[in-house]
Symmetry: C2
Subunit: 359 residues, 2 copies
């Protein structure tokens, strides 16, 4: 499989078919695992890393369930391809930016990926559409079991799975849901919600993990602590808080509809109009306008576009995607133009002539 | 003729068919005349005014060329109808706001109108599309001659026509062109142009005459002085300066196209997108966006809409027009909504669902 093929497709988690997918974009679980026979990554020599990479790669090839997956040598990929995989949420920013032997296994449905030599030797990730942690858990548990049949994980009777960072020791599990919370942002309640989440030891991050700014009003809510808790408890914690967050967001949307329906309709409709007609547009503005449109579609205020299209535009209008889809390198100015072209092509209506001399 | 019938129509000067009509919206000439038998308006009693109104009204009825015109008793019109005639440029704001007996004759093509008891007893106005002062002059001269066959004008051998305000004494003529100068505004050259015009005794005003702000980048350029000049000289002065202004504006547009085509295209295209999708919009924002769209159409950057439509939207989206077209009184909030609805209905593309509950 070539990355270009992936570019034109759309991961399962973007289909917007899962439960509560008007607010919960995706449910994600990742497990951190290390091979017992090698030091943690930070203590590894280059040869150690290469050996880990080869070992795991060979094991993947032996697993019947991995027949359709693609393995990518991340170290050998050009910048734009690594960035592409980050935008796709298949590898972390850290994995893209690191050095040395490392790779990633990608399921053709993009429901799961396995990073080799990220912070830990192996990081398994499963991502499902909507609020659906049980099925994500079922899948990742199965993958983890299959892997364990082929490799010796670093495991301690009392502590559980051993990981490079102490915060991951135990289950090595991070459970998260990606939420779209535009109404909580608009009604200025989002900070209050975050403070409440921090009090119960849940972390809040933006679209692309730690430290990334919340773009497009997307927020990832996940557990902070893994030691001393079972997998079931961790899943339960996030599963329990998600419905409350969904309800807050729904109430905020209803409040906006009840109290200022006209302004809300105007806001989302204008956002759609700008996306349909801009001739050059930044990534930030695109995210912001798409966020308004996404809420507008979910509230029935915009009917000309479907949620999967909007979800996909969030990803496809990012810099590496634009370049992969166009099949050429583009600088910032060219990307802003290509982004506007791409948006106009994929959103109905609002057509203006492209005019003579248009790229 | 009912005013409602006028509302749905479009005056000849809005058809955008005249010479240079990408920049010169209309050419206008008005003549100030007074009846020799009555004092100037400011010295008139209510009875005098009523007598003047009756005299002129009776004369109009005798003129064969006025068979198709409508006479409106401006004093008897409700506020919204007077405002409607101002927006239509058929009467002045002052005429709308005054007290006492007064009226207006309106040609069904809206090429000419005659105000009774404005600042002078009679003000004749002719307005043609594009830069076309000679034909406007020909028509107004004919009307003036016809009137003079029926009434005695206050005329002084040496001074010429006598008028209420000394600045109008002589020919009683004001010659003006309405220019659309968005590129001179955008390139910040407009103030410089105005200073040059003032030096040669030309006045610059907004869309609705004295003191009105330049809305939608429309500017009315006219002679300041009439005494001591012949009609031909006054027409020549404005006729000579108009091509220079047209050239400045064209150069500014070309500069924008050459130096920042993309930004310009983006600006006009987004303006179009907003007009096509807003759910509520003020008059000021509408004027500003329509101005961008008008330039965009004239530069071939927008092709989905025709100039006569844009010209008409400038007039039809104003407050009295919206109410006449809708057939009901509307407050500010309702007007902003009706304006957005009207714009969406009359501009192609950029459709978003009106959503449930949308009126």
């Amino acid at each position: 499989m070539r990355l270009e093929e992936l570019a034109g497709k759309c991961g399962e988690w973007l289909r917007g078919s899962g439960p509560e997918s008007d607010i919960v974009v995706s449910s994600r679980i990742r497990l951190a695992r290390n091979l017992a026979d090698y030091p943690f990554i930070r203590k590894c020599t280059g040869l150690d890393r290469a050996a880990i990479e080869k070992t795991l790669r060979d094991k993947f090839a032996q697993i019947p369930g991995f027949r359709d997956v693609a393995y990518w040598d991340v170290n050998g990929l050009p910048d734009v391809d690594r960035q592409f995989l980050v935008e796709r949420q298949l590898i972390s920013r850290e994995h893209a930016d690191a050095d040395g032997a490392r790779g990633v296994v990608i399921d053709p449905n993009e429901q799961f990926s396995l990073m080799v030599n990220e912070e830990d030797h192996l990081r398994i990730q499963v991502m499902h559409s909507g609020l659906d942690l049980p099925s994500a858990w079922e899948q990742i548990n199965r993958i983890d079991d299959v892997m364990e049949e082929h490799v010796y994980y670093a495991f301690h009777e009392r502590l559980g799975y051993l990981t490079a960072c102490p915060t991951n020791v135990g289950t090595g599990m991070r459970v998260s849901v990606m939420l779209h919370l535009p109404a909580l942002v608009l009604t200025r309640q989002i900070e209050k919600v975050f403070r409440s989440l921090h009090k119960i030891s849940l972390a809040v991050r933006g679209l692309y993990g730690e430290g990334s700014q919340a773009m497009g009003d997307f927020y990832q809510v996940s557990n902070q602590i893994t030691l001393g808790k079972t997998e079931a408890e961790l899943i339960q914690q996030v599963s329990e808080v998600a419905p409350a967050l969904i309800e807050y967001e729904r109430k905020a949307r209803q409040y906006l509809v009840d109290e200022s329906r006209r302004e809300l309709h105007d806001r989302v409709s204008r956002a759609y109009g700008l996306l349909c007609t801009a001739q050059t547009i930044s990534s930030e503005e695109t995210m912001q306008l798409l966020s308004s449109v996404r809420m507008g579609v979910n509230l029935g205020l915009i009917r000309d576009v479907a949620i999967p299209t909007v979800n996909q535009l969030f990803i496809h209008t990012q810099r590496a995607h634009l370049q992969k889809l166009r099949g050429m390198e583009l600088d910032t100015i060219e990307r802003d133009i290509e982004r506007a072209n791409y948006l106009r092509r994929h959103l109905k209506g609002g057509s203006t002539s492209d005019g003579p001399g248009q790229n």
